[in-house]
């Protein structure tokens, strides 16, 4: 080996470094795959989480609307059932008004399943000027949607509304 001529070993080192580049490229492609595999589930979970939060908020809104409309319907029912004396009493009629309103309003949201609804109260609460409290509970069925991948349970939600009956309720003319 003469001084000035390049060393074959140096050439090997240089090739090895160049080879290292090839090796680095291969490693990079693997890195991208691993990074994608790690971040993609997180991004999908975030996406489904956002969607789930929106669906849950809509469920709360629908249940709340159904309970408030039902309470309003209850207090506007006639004081007595004079059109059908053999039918339900004034209180039962008010309950029926509220139940029908709640069921039909809730039916607009196909993800809500009714658990319970009622406007319990004494006869004084059902008298003119009385105040009635209605409560409704429903299950938000995420299991019916693809969101169940990220949200593997169906939460139970509830709402409450209080309405005051008119002091001057009249009855329908038979």
């Amino acid at each position: 080996m003469t001084r000035g001529s390049p060393s074959p070993l140096a050439g090997e080192v240089a090739r090895s470094r160049a080879g290292g580049g090839v090796c680095s490229g291969r490693w990079s492609s693997g890195q991208a795959l691993v990074e994608t595999a790690v971040t993609l589930p997180i991004l999908i979970a975030l996406f489904f989480g956002f969607l789930g939060a929106g669906v849950a908020a809509q469920g709360f809104v629908d249940l709340n609307t159904a309970v408030y409309l039902a309470a309003a319907s209850n207090v506007t029912a006639p004081a007595a059932n004079l059109t059908n004396p053999s039918g339900p009493s004034g209180e039962a009629l008010a309950q029926q008004y509220a139940n029908d309103t709640f069921d039909h309003t809730l039916a607009h949201d196909s993800l809500l399943r009714k658990i319970s609804f009622g406007c319990p109260g004494t006869l004084a609460d059902y008298a003119a000027g009385g105040t009635i409290t209605c409560s409704g509970t429903a299950v938000l069925e995420f299991s019916k949607t693809p969101l169940s991948i990220a949200i593997p349970f169906d939460p139970t939600i509830s709402a409450q509304a209080r309405a005051t009956r008119s002091a001057y309720r009249s009855v329908p003319v038979p």
């Binding site: 975030l46 956002f50 709340n64 408030y68 409309l69 006639p78 105040t131 309405a163 008119s166 309720r169």
Partner: protein, 147 residues
């Protein structure tokens, strides 16, 4: 020099994305909360207006024509009746109803709620408000034609 700079972009990207995702999560949670609360104050305003609208002035309603009757209007207590509506959640300072009578036979209810946000990233509270107006109602039959 090169070795000391490698990985800089990764760290900057990670920090930036952390803030972006935190902001997104806060935005979604806060927006959903405000949507639910707005719906609630809207329903409460509707009930308050409806309650106030049932407080009919029966003395004016049954007044004889010779005495200037019958008059279809709300009683003087309609505002108080409207404000007696029960509000769910909050405190009397943050969640309140204010009613007034713009005309003799209508009552307007405004319910406002200073809502605490679940993730106070941009602000800690936000106010939602809804206004509804009700016209005097009396049972199933109307006594006189409303002008």
């Amino acid at each position: 020099m090169r070795r000391s700079q490698s990985g800089q972009t990764l760290i900057m990207f990670a920090i930036t994305m952390t803030f972006v995702f935190m902001a997104l999560i806060a935005l979604v949670a806060d927006a959903d909360t405000l949507m639910v609360r707005y719906n609630q104050v809207d329903a409460e305003a509707l009930l308050a207006a409806q309650t106030g609208a049932t407080d009919v002035d029966t003395n004016a309603l049954y007044r004889l024509p010779s005495q200037g009757g019958p008059q279809y209007q709300l009683a003087a207590t309609a505002k108080r009746t409207c404000e007696s509506v029960h509000l769910n959640g909050g405190t009397p300072l943050t969640h309140r109803v204010i009613c007034n009578r713009p005309t003799a036979n209508t009552v307007t209810a405004t319910v406002s709620w200073n809502v605490s946000l679940p993730i106070p990233l941009f602000m800690t509270t936000a106010t939602v408000s809804a206004t509804r107006t009700g016209q005097a109602v009396f049972g199933g039959q109307q006594a006189v034609t409303v002008p």
